[in-house]
Subunit: 237 residues, 2 copies
DNA sequence: CGGGCACTTGATAGTAATCAAGTCCGGTGG
DNA sequence: CCACCGGACTTGATTACTATCAAGTGCCCG
């Protein structure tokens, strides 16, 4: 493990840069060069990585942990836009021009990040144009997710919204389980509510309803066991 | 005017390619080469340019006219995601990999488009890496718009949503007028409703309310005169 | 084991969807 | 140019649902 390249003690003898899709077209030698440009930072649960409106000088890549990106609406509500996990990045708006961050980002748990300064990044893109293409792909995926989210938010029934978010989490965080899919929720009830534009009480009620229908089982506050995925999918229709 | 490069009779002696930001880094000579790869197509109001789920072989650039991009939800509703006008493009998801279109696109009026086949486009990006960067910028703008839309959809009050969409249209389609800002609406009441996740009746009611408050004046069904922009902005808060 | 916070559950009120008439606009044909 | 027709829009009454307010319960961490 090369301390100069990667000072974090979580890399498991791999370069952080290897974990990130936007550098996947580079070879080991090139990755090492990129590694030299990287700084590291750690955050505790609840820490703010950036505030909406601030302008950051760097691309931020999540190396470990999880964060939420959200806008604070004028009526005080928090609209969560993304949950970024290992390998995701943000701050891309700043790289080319000088934009303020469109959202705040807060750590949902202990989180380690890699930082690349925008001037370094610009040089990088010149040398390896494939990186721009990779970022393009990643941005397209993000568009997909937002377009889907917009469709969800427009859904008439609240059942559909709740079902939709549970299915999304099942995709992303679900693990095999003899009785179904075990989901470790990244957000609290209030977080889920802020993700789909409802109140925490309504989310609570609808999840209880789904449990009484035998579609899922709540295990404590932070896990749910999805028993009947097909029924949830029907809810969306 | 070079018929070989651009067969449409609306170019006014300019290359279509010049109107599009993604090619703005190219010089005239390069633009002519790009022009040779382009095909044209025309649509009438109500025509479908592409259906959700279909896979297209081309990047589509709007040369003249206006289209709406929307998803059809399972309960039959239409969630409008974008309104694309002159200079906008869609179909970018297909360029790199083979994705189905995430939305349907329908002409809102007589519309002329330029088509670039994805194999040609891939060669183009290799030759002119700046194009990827330009597309990246454009995609970032689209992310901004969607993130803002999501914030709007999450808004507690319906007044805020309606006000927000009117302000958006004022930005995009508004023209100076002695009494305020004259807005030519791109969508019907039902279209607006499908854009912000409400019913046409509710949109109608809220717009009547705004008129009675002296904030705006409806001129027929397709125009509104925004009298008090500041009041609308306060509505969002 | 205890305390605080998140979550659940209940009652009430406000608001938007729905259902249902009417009215107006804009285009077409005489 | 005017009259007519159909579709889009407005307005009204009712219903259904979710936000809000409020009280309890249970989970999780120290």
């Amino acid at each position: 493990m090369n301390k100069t390249i990667c000072g974090c003690n979580k890399c498991n003898h791999k370069l952080c840069t290897q974990r990130v899709s936007i550098f996947s077209s580079l070879n080991i030698e090139q990755l090492e060069k990129v590694g030299e440009l990287i700084n590291h930072k750690e955050y505790k649960k609840g820490d703010l990585l950036i505030m909406e409106g601030e302008s950051s000088e760097s691309l931020v890549i999540i190396n470990e942990g999880q964060v939420k990106a959200f806008k604070t609406t004028q009526d005080g509500r928090e609209q969560i836009l993304y949950i970024f996990s290992e390998g995701d990045f943000f701050g891309e708006r700043n790289l080319l021009r000088d934009f303020a961050s469109p959202y705040s980002v807060e750590a949902l748990e202990e989180t380690h990040v890699c930082l690349i300064h925008k001037s370094d990044f610009q040089i990088l893109v010149k040398s390896f144009p494939d990186i721009a293409v990779k970022i393009m792909e990643e941005l397209c995926q993000r568009l997909d997710r937002l377009e889907h989210a917009l469709e969800t938010m427009g859904a008439r029934t609240v059942e559909a919204r709740v079902s939709s978010v549970i299915l999304e989490f099942a995709e992303k965080y679900g693990k095999e389980h003899p009785k179904g899919i075990l989901i470790e929720l990244p957000l609290s009830r209030e977080g889920i509510a802020n993700y789909i534009g409802l109140t925490r009480e309504t989310v609570s009620r609808k999840m209880s309803l789904l449990q009484s229908e035998g579609i899922l089982e709540m295990i404590g506050n932070k896990k749910i066991l999805l028993l009947d995925r097909v029924a949830l999918e029907k809810n969306i229709e």
